[in-house]
């Protein structure tokens, strides 16, 4: 008796070790058709508790239209979202449907862990033309669609009306150029350092990516194989911001932004202008001071108009036990109905054409139409197969340019080298 137990224990241990050694993906992906009136339970992973109420509302509609299917929301903290999703997905135990970003999807497609959504999309009767084209392309690989954008955001020029009034400077308009910004920023900056004309944080999506494309440059080549940082246009786009700090002295320093993030400085009335995304509208609206004093317009133009556009997609994971329902859910979460509900809550701009006015109406104190108007000039947030391999180095290499220790030319050249090296490994 005793020896049997020991044997069992040994066998169990051995089994544990060998199985773990394989690190196999398919262990839990049992086959199932999910049909036959069976109860189907799906898990949907997101990183935004702010949007949970809207998501719940969308899911209620989905559950109503799909009897027998219930969906549970799993909120994963933003800081751990990607490592958790990657680990559980690679282990075959991930959620059925999850939020995805363009910067991250390449790895998942290469790993073969996503379900194609083409079929489910066709069945849904949605029109692909109604989505911002740049964002749709972000989630398509080799003609196969793996996600559809559920929303989008663009960058605008937010400004503090009270500070403009105080300095007697006219509010920004959509036809402003870079020079107009500099002139206004100089007039708005107070010599005692209590107010700066503009915030120039080292924030790719909100600041320098926009101006690089406006100058006619690019962050990454169209085919995603080489860095664009060493071009004169890209350097010009970066200089626009570093000059604000080091030449015109109309922005706090990088040190200051490290101590107090730019949005907090803006909300404290320390910055007269800040370029940032539509995603802050809700936060500004909920703050008394910001709600009363802030407004927004289109980004100023450089050699051309451009704003960085980005969006979240919904993917279905191949490890799901209910592929059909998961794909249907992923499409539904990015569909017209979902888009309308998202816009109405004012948290995000829904991606589906014709549902977006609700977002503009949600906060009438701000000219949110500016974000929609700019979408046609939207340049999608630059990505490659393994975006983070180079995007995570941008800060490191551009810091000396921001602090003035190095010329932008030098910093950009070093960054381009590092980026090309990373891209060569993809």
């Amino acid at each position: 008796m005793k020896s049997t137990n020991t044997m069992l224990a040994l066998a169990a241990t051995a089994a544990v070790l060998t199985l773990a050694a394989c690190g196999d993906n398919g262990a839990s992906a049992g086959g199932s058709d999910g049909g036959g009136g069976e109860e189907v339970e799906l898990t949907f992973a997101t990183f935004s508790p702010d949007q949970e109420p809207a998501i719940r509302q969308i899911l209620d509609v989905f559950e109503e239209q799909n009897p027998g299917v219930s969906v549970e929301i799993q909120i994963i903290p933003w800081t751990d979202y990607w490592s958790t999703l990657q680990t559980s997905t690679a282990g075959g135990t991930g959620p059925d449907v999850a939020w995805m970003l363009g910067a991250k999807i390449g790895q998942y497609i290469d790993g073969g862990v996503l379900l194609p959504l083409d079929e489910a999309f066709e069945e849904s009767g949605l029109d692909i033309e109604k989505y911002p084209e740049q964002l749709v392309d972000l989630f398509v690989d080799d003609g196969t669609t793996y996600a559809l954008p559920k929303d989008f955001d663009t960058i605008g020029l937010w400004y503090n009306k009270a500070l403009f009034d105080e300095a007697g400077v006219a509010y920004p308009t959509p036809d402003w150029t870079w020079d107009d910004v500099i002139t206004a920023a100089k007039a708005l900056t107070k010599p005692d350092g209590s107010v700066y004309g503009i915030g120039a944080p080292m924030d790719p999506q909100a600041t320098y990516y926009n101006t690089i494309y406006q100058a006619g440059g690019e962050v990454i080549s169209e085919d995603g194989t080489t860095s664009g940082y060493d071009s004169p246009e890209a350097i010009e786009g970066i200089k626009f911001w570093t000059d604000m700090i080091n030449v015109h002295h109309v922005s706090p320093t990088l040190e200051s932004f490290a101590d107090t993030e730019s949005v907090a400085q803006f909300m404290s009335g320390r910055l007269a202008m800040l370029t940032t995304g539509s995603f802050y509208a809700i936060r500004f609206a909920n703050d008394e001071y910001s709600s009363q004093n802030f407004d927004v317009t289109e980004l100023p133009a450089g050699a051309q108009e451009a704003t960085i556009i980005n969006g979240i997609g919904n993917v279905a994971l191949a490890s799901t036990e209910h592929p059909e329902e998961a794909a249907r859910l992923a499409v539904f979460l990015s569909g017209e109905e979902a888009s309308r509900i998202s816009s109405e809550t004012g948290t995000v701009i829904g991606s589906y054409e014709g549902t977006q006015e609700a977002f503009v109406d949600a906060f009438p104190q701000f000219n949110l139409q500016a974000f929609l108007d700019q979408a046609e000039n939207g340049v999608v947030l630059p990505v490659s197969r393994n975006t983070d391999a180079w995007a995570s180095r941008e800060g490191e290499f551009l810091t000396p340019a921001w602090t003035g220790e190095q010329s932008v030319e030098e910093a950009a050249a070093n960054l381009a080298d590092a980026m090309n090296e990373a891209l060569a490994q993809e």
Binding site: P201, M202, L254, S256, D259, D388, S392, T403
Partner: protein, 295 residues
Amino acid sequence: MRPNRYPDNAWAAILLAVPFGGLVIFYLWPLLRTVLLSFSEGTAFTGYTITGLGNWQRLFENGDDVWRALVNTLVYAAIVLLGVPIAMVIAALLHQRGLRGRSFYRTLYFVPVVTMPVAVAMVWRYIYNGDFGLLNEVLDAVGGPTRAWVADPDTALYAVAVVGIWMALGTNLIILAAGLEAVPQTLEEAAMLDGAGPVRRFLSVTVPLLTPSIFLVSVLSVIGSLQMFDLLFIMLGRTNPALADSKTIVYLFYEEAFVRNDRPLGAVIALVTLVVTLAVTAVQFRLQRRWVTYA
């Protein structure tokens, strides 16, 4: 009868079975996986295949980052170690006989240990803030030097280390307090009868008996410091000009393994951390013979 050098072999095997089994399954086995991973290539989704020394080669060819991080980490560990004597003084004060409010104080000193790092970091960032910080205001009043403490490459690591001392104080205090309780009261009383003052009594009677606990907190403090990551991550943020000069070795590990998805290189960095920690701890163990006394 010749005395057996190992009289307890059988009992040791029985009693260690469970602890050792768990250790193998949950720690040594993962460690072995990591070693294999450091010789592999691949991604989380495609799986990893062993390819050779490539990752280690990368470390030695352009490992400037790693060496710099290593130095930062050692500096940080050395500063945080200063927290041990501070904890000793407080533990000794709390240990005085007849002191009222002992548990009240202990609780207060314990609070920082339970507080969330994010919450703590926010407060300290206000204190260190270069534009409006409390520290600068105090220094300004007394004519001292002011700066952006956590955004300045010259001071950021030290500023974070101070928070490290502050956060570890409670833990050190708990372990030292437990050690102090085990010091037999009779000894101190005997010393008191001999007319020794409280300070001398503490230094000549209590401290020698406390050395095993002091050694324990020192080793744990160093090991903990060598693994420091989240405090730096939260306090400095992503676009801090001081980041390049303040990164610790586990910060690098996090960047490679979790941000850039280069798990194999992450494994290499983690193993370097392990080797360095082993070396430092081995030195501490060797030195303990000079100053630690066991019963």
